[in-house]
Symmetry: C2
Subunit: 185 residues, 2 copies
């Protein structure tokens, strides 16, 4: 296998990744609604039939975008929480930051009705949720009054997810200070 840059024009060499990037960009621009396999192929500069080789259909492509999104979100939450004095706050920030910098992926990650079944999607989705639960477990005082930790997890997940959603839709201003104050409350 040659390095990617040296591959022939005919065999792209990394078309799957290129199609995922094109899809995320296209989703961000026109919404998950409006994308088509043909528009993704055009953006990636390949023939219109190429995406079906890799993803089967639209739902398969969107599931792959979502799975890759969860994988990278999980990655950045781990990086943020590791060695942080306030892992829970760090994870909240990372969650919102991921949504802001990856709006295409975020727009499909919680829209299961759009997504075909995909083992990677299950695995990475569950792993991301697990990060939040672990961070709550190691943060003294996060779960107060003997509350069930799953309720605490649901509350914090709701808070960061709502904040991320409202910020990227423009309902709340994309202001780092505001985001920090909301998360610290």
């Amino acid at each position: 296998m040659l390095p990617m840059a040296e591959r022939s024009a005919y065999h792209h060499g990394d078309l799957r990744r290129a199609l995922l990037q094109a899809a995320a960009a296209e989703i961000h621009e026109v919404g998950p609604s409006a994308i088509s396999l043909r528009s993704i192929a055009r953006r990636a500069g390949v023939s219109h039939a190429a995406p079906a080789h890799h993803f089967g259909d639209r739902a398969g492509l969107l599931a792959a975008v979502a799975a890759e999104g969860f994988r990278r979100m999980n990655e950045s939450m781990v990086a943020a929480a590791t060695d942080s004095p306030e892992p829970l706050l760090a994870i909240g920030r990372a969650y919102v930051a991921f949504a802001r910098t990856n709006p295409g992926e975020f727009a499909v990650m919680f829209r299961p009705e759009l997504l075909g079944s995909d083992p990677d999607l299950e695995v990475h989705g569950a792993a991301a949720h697990q990060r939040l639960v672990e961070a709550i477990a190691v943060t003294p005082g996060a779960t107060c009054n003997g509350e069930d930790p799953s309720v605490t997890a649901a509350r914090l997940w709701s808070l960061v997810h709502g904040l991320a959603t409202l910020v990227i839709t423009g309902s709340l201003p994309a202001d780092d200070d505001l985001i920090d104050q909301v998360l610290r409350g």
Copy 2:
């Protein structure tokens, strides 16, 4: 003007409302992505060109669905908060309950990129937000530590919006006890 039930078959008499209901149902079933003016017309039992008479295009139709959603959400939040001993909790419950019982409307209300401009949309959207701000103002202790009330509003909005979103996507179970515990925390 005759009562609706007596109107002729040719002139529907309340087609605008019927189209909005059909659109909300269709959005709930297949997503805002997949609807078309033709599919809405089919569901409402009128010719495929009728929706354009009322809404112009898809974005106009979706904006009208969203505006009607905000109007009714506002209505039910007012009803829930009035004479309630805990208006803030009542509003949170009403917000989540609205999303659960009106998933079609909720699916477009915070997707401004899908919506055409519509004066009703602005008015009712702003009014719904105002309900939350007012409820915070009259709830002693809602805003703690001299925090800016707009930060409190952003936090509570994020919490209820995230909870509603995660519940209707199936990410969190649709369990009234869980919802109450999350909102009370």
